[in-house]
């Protein structure tokens, strides 16, 4: 740990602020409340950037990486506890955490190594379908199912390794697009996997405890069963976050960054380019598979129509919107992309129009994403010396 004398209070303050915001964002339903909230957020963010709070928060976060994770984890848990009875809000929150997990996988692939993956939702889907098949036909414990689902996603992704290594840039992107479309078409014509009608998936059970039952707290009311899923999804997202953060700060992260910046230069410095590409691609796909498994058990029903090419684009747009290569940026971006269309239900058929305009506006004023990636700090206090 670098020795610093700066306090971690900015991190705590921002986590509390974020938690309150998320809570209100999920809880409020009226359109004018949402509007007030949005205006408030823009004002708060503007002043944070203007008066340098954002910079202080980021500096504090990079000085206290562990505290940052713990504080944010506790804040997220607090949100879940406060929302305990709200089924829908918890479902949205759990979905956000799962999308965050997938997008952290994409961050390793795209943000660090520079492999554009337009089939993110396909690997998510592989995880989901693996779960559906395993839970229906075998008695494998569900926690193990999640792990197997992730590994299967990584394994099936290895089919793409050869074409990906042979191609670069746009061509590599095309390979993944083709795979994403292939995956959906395959599901639709495959009657064993339920065909277009999809498959039912039983709820998750851990050590005989069914996550699909509401938890009764006696006189204190009952806790929505989605709360359990939200906690599982949060643990998954937190695990993925720690993994990505550790990777970034390790020598592996250095190698990945080098490959993204210039493949030829990296190779001439002795970095094994194919090896690290395979590593990044597979780890990213595994993360998508884990998330897909939890999603399948949570929603109880999966169908090919849920794994469109459009959803893959949505995942890529979360990474870009958050600031490519910054795992922290994925959080607000996922929240925005997943929850905002839902909050705009009030304007019904015009909601995607408004949503698209908002995304364009954000990228107009913050072209590098909400929270752009900072320069790598090789030593403590590097950027300030």
């Amino acid at each position: 740990m670098p020795i610093t004398n700066r306090s971690y209070w900015p991190v705590v303050a921002s986590a509390v602020f974020a938690a309150v915001f998320v809570l209100l964002f999920l809880y409020l339903e009226e359109q004018w409340e949402i509007a007030v909230l949005a205006v408030g957020l823009v004002a708060a963010l503007y002043s944070a950037v203007r008066f340098g709070f954002l910079g202080r928060i980021e500096a504090a976060a990079s000085d206290h990486p562990r505290t940052t994770i713990v504080v944010n984890f506790v804040a997220a848990l607090a949100v879940i506890v406060l929302l305990r009875g709200e089924h829908f809000a918890l479902l949205m929150l759990a979905t956000v955490f799962l999308y965050v997990t997938v997008c952290l996988g994409l961050t390793i692939q795209f943000g660090y190594t520079g492999i554009v993956n337009f089939a993110g939702i396909a690997f998510f889907g592989i995880g989901a379908y693996t779960t559906a098949v395993l839970t229906a036909h075998t008695g494998v414990p569900h926690l193990l199912v999640i792990i197997i689902a992730g590994l299967v996603a990584g394994l099936i992704g290895s089919v793409l390794i050869l074409p990906l290594l042979r191609t670069r840039g746009h061509y590599a992107a095309l390979v993944t697009i083709a795979f994403g479309i292939l995956f959906r078409t395959f599901l639709e014509v495959s009657d064993v996997l339920g065909g277009p009608q999809g498959l039912k998936v039983p709820g998750m059970q851990i050590l005989g405890w069914s996550l699909n039952d509401n938890i009764s707290l006696g006189p204190l009311g009952s806790v929505s069963f989605y709360a359990s899923y939200a906690v599982v999804a949060l643990l998954l997202a937190a695990g993925a976050y720690i993994l990505v953060k550790r990777l970034e700060r390790s020598w592996i992260g250095l190698n990945l960054d080098a490959i993204r910046t210039d493949e030829t230069a990296a190779a001439s410095f002795g970095i094994d380019v194919p090896r690290w590409k395979i590593f990044a691609f597979t780890v990213g796909n595994c993360l998508a598979g884990f998330a897909g498994a939890v999603y399948a058990m949570m929603s109880g029903f999966i169908a090919p129509a849920s794994f469109n090419f459009g959803d893959s684009l949505l995942l890529v747009s979360i990474v870009l919107l958050g600031g490519s290569g910054n795992p922290l940026g994925v959080l607000p971006a996922a929240l925005l992309v997943v929850v905002l269309p839902e909050k705009l239900q009030i304007i019904q058929e015009y909601r995607f129009l408004l949503f698209a305009v908002l995304v364009i506006l954000i990228l107009r004023f913050r072209p590098e994403g909400l929270l752009p990636r900072k320069m790598r700090e090789y030593f403590a206090a590097w950027s300030r010396s």
Binding site: V36, F88, Q197, Q348, E349, R351
Partner: protein, 386 residues
């Protein structure tokens, strides 16, 4: 920083104030879910407007015991979004019942949610049999018929007209696949012949490969199982290849959007749909004229009347037993010969409306015309290839 606190405190206050609206009548919320964006949004919007019409008419009636409010949500015709909005609706204790789903795949995904939360729903458009017959959920009802009835009538009718061979083109959704399954079964059982079956994806643009093959097979009829956008593309590309066969569609193409998309090419297209045409029903004329009066931007489309009927069933049940999910569900389950704009509604033990009435349609001069009244039936005009 001060600004944050001010905003936050104001927000918290607002939270407290919200929900304190008062009215002399108790407000009852009813949900509507359908595809309001995407390829089949025309049907979703027509359905939403029709359900809204039912609510407005009831609210205008001074003898109404409650003030009704429609909560309309978009399922995008995607199961994952469907499960999300279904959870939103079902978890909201203020919502008593729902008029839900046009797309079968979405309805299949959401019935479990309704069952789990005990929300009574009436399906207004999805035609897959399994939605009602694949489970024992007392919460799920459906006013429109299933694709089984539709295809039996279609097969009978076409064979009577003297057609013998079919090429089937269907989209690979459950809707298209189901139609293919039931129609093929009925046609073969009754002595017809299927010369070729082609599955296409619902968003496929180019059908030249399939249609070239179809031209070789030279069937009397091209049976299309799918929704209007795909149907429009298929029919216009048939023309380009010079295929002179009858185009026979399913309930999915019975919409004004289909005719608008094709223009004169739509002439002579056949389709089958559950229920009687709206204007032929006791309340049909008044439904259409009231719909016109409300100044909605979009037409009610083929399933609007079903959404209207579903909303009215729910309203009648609430008027009778009060805004309580369990009681409303029991009341809906006991529906027998209930008058509605789509004819008398009777739910069987699965909540399925047992209307066997299927109407045959043909497009004549840019309009969906009931077969019996068309110039084709009277022999004045002839379908292509006959």
């Amino acid at each position: 920083m001060k600004r944050h606190y001010v905003t936050l405190i104001t927000l918290l206050f607002m939270l407290g104030v919200a929900g304190c609206a008062s009215d002399d009548k108790e407000t009852v919320k009813v949900a509507f879910i359908g595809p309001l964006t995407g390829g089949v949004s025309a049907n979703g919007l027509g359905g939403r407007n029709s359900a809204e019409l039912a609510i407005r008419l009831q609210n205008a009636d001074s003898s109404s015991k409650y003030k009704y409010e429609l909560v309309a949500l978009d399922d995008e015709c995607k199961p994952n979004i469907g499960v999300q909005v279904a959870t939103k609706v079902a978890a909201d204790k203020h919502i008593v019942a729902g008029v839900t789903h046009y797309c079968s795949a979405v309805a299949m995904g959401t019935v479990d949610v309704y069952h789990k939360f005990g929300l009574p729903v009436v399906v207004w458009g999805a035609v897959l049999p399994d939605i009602t017959y694949g489970n024992d959920y007392a919460e799920v009802h459906r006013v429109n018929g299933t694709m089984i009835n539709q295809n039996e009538v279609a097969a009978d009718f076409m064979l009577q007209q003297g057609y013998k061979t079919w090429a089937v083109v269907h989209d690979t959704t459950d809707y298209g696949k189901g139609h293919n399954r039931y129609f093929s079964k009925f046609v073969i059982d009754k002595g017809g012949r299927i010369v070729g079956t082609f599955g296409v994806s619902a968003d496929q643009q180019d059908f030249n490969a399939e249609l070239t093959k179809v031209k070789e097979l030279d069937p009397d009829v091209i049976y299309f199982g799918g929704l209007a956008p795909t149907g429009v593309r298929l029919r216009s590309q048939m023309e380009k290849l010079g295929i002179n066969a009858v185009f026979q569609g399913t309930s999915g193409i019975v919409s004004d959007a289909f005719i608008d998309g094709l223009g004169p090419l739509a002439e002579g297209v056949l389709a089958f749909r559950e229920g009687a045409p709206v204007e032929k029903l006791p309340g049909g004329e008044s439904f259409l004229s009231q719909y016109q009066q409300q100044d909605f931007g979009e037409p009610p489309e083929a399933y609007g009347a079903f959404a209207f009927a579903a909303a009215n069933l729910i309203i009648d049940a609430i008027e009778k037993v009060g805004p309580d999910r369990k009681l409303v569900m029991q009341e809906l389950n006991a529906t027998r010969d209930h008058d509605s704009v789509v004819g008398p509604v009777t739910f069987d033990e699965h909540g399925q409306n047992t209307v066997a009435l299927i109407t045959r349609y043909v497009i004549q001069d840019g309009k969906w015309v009931v077969w019996e009244e068309s110039e084709y039936a009277s022999g004045k005009r002839k379908l292509p290839g006959s």
